[in-house]
Amino acid sequence: MRSDRGQSAPLSLKVAAACGLLFLHLPLLLIFVYAFTTEEKSFVWPPPGLTTQWFAVTWNRPDVWQALSLSVRVAAISTAIALILGTLCSAAVSRTKFFGRETISLLVILPIALPGIITGIALRSAFSLADIPFSFWTIVLGHATFCVVVVYNNAVARFRRTSGSMIEASMDLGADGFQTFRHVVLPNIATALLAGGMLAFALSFDEVIVTTFTAGQQQTLPIWMLEELIRPRQRPVTNVVAMVVVLVTLLPILAAYYLTRDGDQIAGSGK
């Protein structure tokens, strides 16, 4: 037992940390206020009045629904692909040592380590060289590529804690490889995969930089939002969509946190 428990922090540190957290959270809270403002043309503060009419207006906008539906479909398919590729890759990397193992880890991390614009323009120039027209699948291709890393990270952390002897025990007891995977491996990594899948979904749902290069004329929700930021048409609708997006992304993050909190893979919990 170390002797440093139970002390309280110096006041200056408390204030600095609190200010930092406020800096991170106040702008997001502001979005919630603006969703109810009666002002249509400008960003005036304080709001001249409060109303809920813009929720109804947004509800009846087909372009918002189309963008939302495309985003959800892209995120679902990309997450599914990322789950398969990420699980395979993490299983291979964590169970065996082989030549080029470090390179594989690097390969998985690279799409998210390099700036998104590089991934985006690289994909776009590859599409144009290969004469592939923009479609639903070109968006998915880009999204799945950088979603693999989230699933991979979660699954690798879980595999590290899962003992390999359980798999051997299962085989010794007569289960074949598929049964072992179904009854031993899968239950062990299920929550990690669920958490990774949710984060991958959130990542894809929110992605805009790569998407601007691979979408062509299609509008995902972030692209719709970007259009509104550059050429505003109806600001109150943008406010409402922004608030809904904040709420919708909160849920998978909270769920992913509760699914993995008992583990040791929570970033920043020490080694």
Binding site: R2, D4, R5, Q7, S8, A9, L13, A16, A17, G20, L21, L24, H25, P27, L28, L30, I31, Y34, F43, V44, W45, G86, L88, C89, F98, I104, P111, A113, L114, P115, I117, I118, I121, A122, L123, S125, A126, L141, T145, V148, G174, D176, G177, L199, D206, V208, I209, P222, M225, L226, L229, T238, A242, T249, Y257, I266, A267, G268, S269, G270
Partner: protein, 322 residues
């Protein structure tokens, strides 16, 4: 499964016959030759990333050695270094310099703001507070990127909350004085470099907090006490004990803040001046200008900078803090 089937009787041969069917045969093969299984597991992800990602990167790199014909606007597919020469024009060098300076400033500011949060979370927060801090950092990290930018557009707008707040405090002259400065100033905060800077810091800050916190978690608290027992002032303890131990974490965080700032083109487009950053240059070269070779050459700049950066970071042991 019944017990009988699972446990071979004493009379059964020591080596079981191979299981029947395709499924059994596959299962046996994987058990006898783990390398086959390994290969099958690695093949799909490596093929995907190798073809889709690395393939595209090379396609891009190859294009940076092509050039554009200035009269016809067609791309001349012959090896040349001319496009890289274009990169050295004064206007383009300006863009690179501006972006790198911004990335460095953003990194520095994020490190300063992140440190107290990370230190408090690592050393003093316990139990419920620890969870609260963790979520308090993760939620802004994962919130929608565009919504965060939009929130700052609301805040920095001329009629927005910041102007209102400074007006209430009778400090309007402070904003006006700042905006009248060259380079950092402008018509309003939302069309100035100051605005771009604030938004960059805000959006990348969580990427700095997490690794710094991870590095500080590993500093035992009694080390800090020992330092003050031996007569060091809090400032000396920070300089000589805490900071050197947190440095790998700061460098790890700076990889994100630096790299993300180098490649971003949306933040300076929405909140900022008309002077371009690397990301915007890439975007406009490949889009409206149709000069893919120059766009490709521009993207090589952050790749090269980040290559050196990562190499230096690795030597400082930053990767252990990730």
């Amino acid at each position: 499964m019944s017990l009988d089937a699972a446990m071979p009787r004493a009379s059964a041969p020591a080596i079981l016959p191979g299981s029947g069917g395709l499924r059994g045969a596959l299962s046996d093969l994987f058990w006898r030759k783990p390398k086959v299984l390994l290969l099958l597991m690695l093949l799909p992800p490596v093929l995907w990333l190798g073809i889709v990602y690395i393939g595209s990167l090379f396609a891009l790199l190859a294009q940076s050695f092509f050039s554009i014909d200035e009269y016809s606007g067609l791309i001349n597919r012959q090896f040349t270094l001319k496009t890289y020469g274009d990169l050295l024009q004064a206007a383009n060098l300006d863009i690179i310099l501006r972006t790198v300076t911004m990335a460095a400033l953003v990194t520095l500011a994020s490190a300063i703001i992140a440190f107290p949060i990370a230190y408090y979370a690592a050393r003093y927060a316990r139990g419920r507070w620890k969870a609260l801090f963790y979520l308090g950092i993760m939620l802004p990290l994962w919130s929608s990127y565009l919504v965060k930018i939009y929130a700052w557009k609301l805040i920095l707008a001329k009629e927005g909350i910041l102007t209102w707040l400074f007006g209430k405090l009778h400090l309007q002259w402070l904003i006006d004085a700042w905006l009248s400065l060259p380079v950092v100033g402008g018509n309003s905060l939302s069309v100035s470099f100051t605005g771009t800077f604030i938004v960059f810091v805000y959006v990348w800050l969580p990427f700095m907090i997490l690794p710094v916190q991870a590095a500080l978690e590993r500093v035992p608290g009694n080390l800090v006490e020992a330092s003050s027992d031996l007569g060091a002032s809090p400032g000396q303890t920070f300089r000589n004990v805490l900071f050197p131990l947190a440095l790998p974490g700061i460098v790890a965080g700076s990889i994100f803040t630096f790299s993300l700032t180098l490649g971003d083109y949306i933040i300076p487009q929405i909140i900022g001046t008309s002077r371009l950053f690397i990301g915007q240059a890439v975007y406009s070269q490949q889009g409206t200008a149709g000069n893919i070779p120059l766009a490709a050459a521009f993207t090589v700049v952050p790749i090269v900078i980040m290559g050196f950066y990562l190499w230096g970071a690795k030597r400082m042991g930053a990767f252990d803090a990730l």
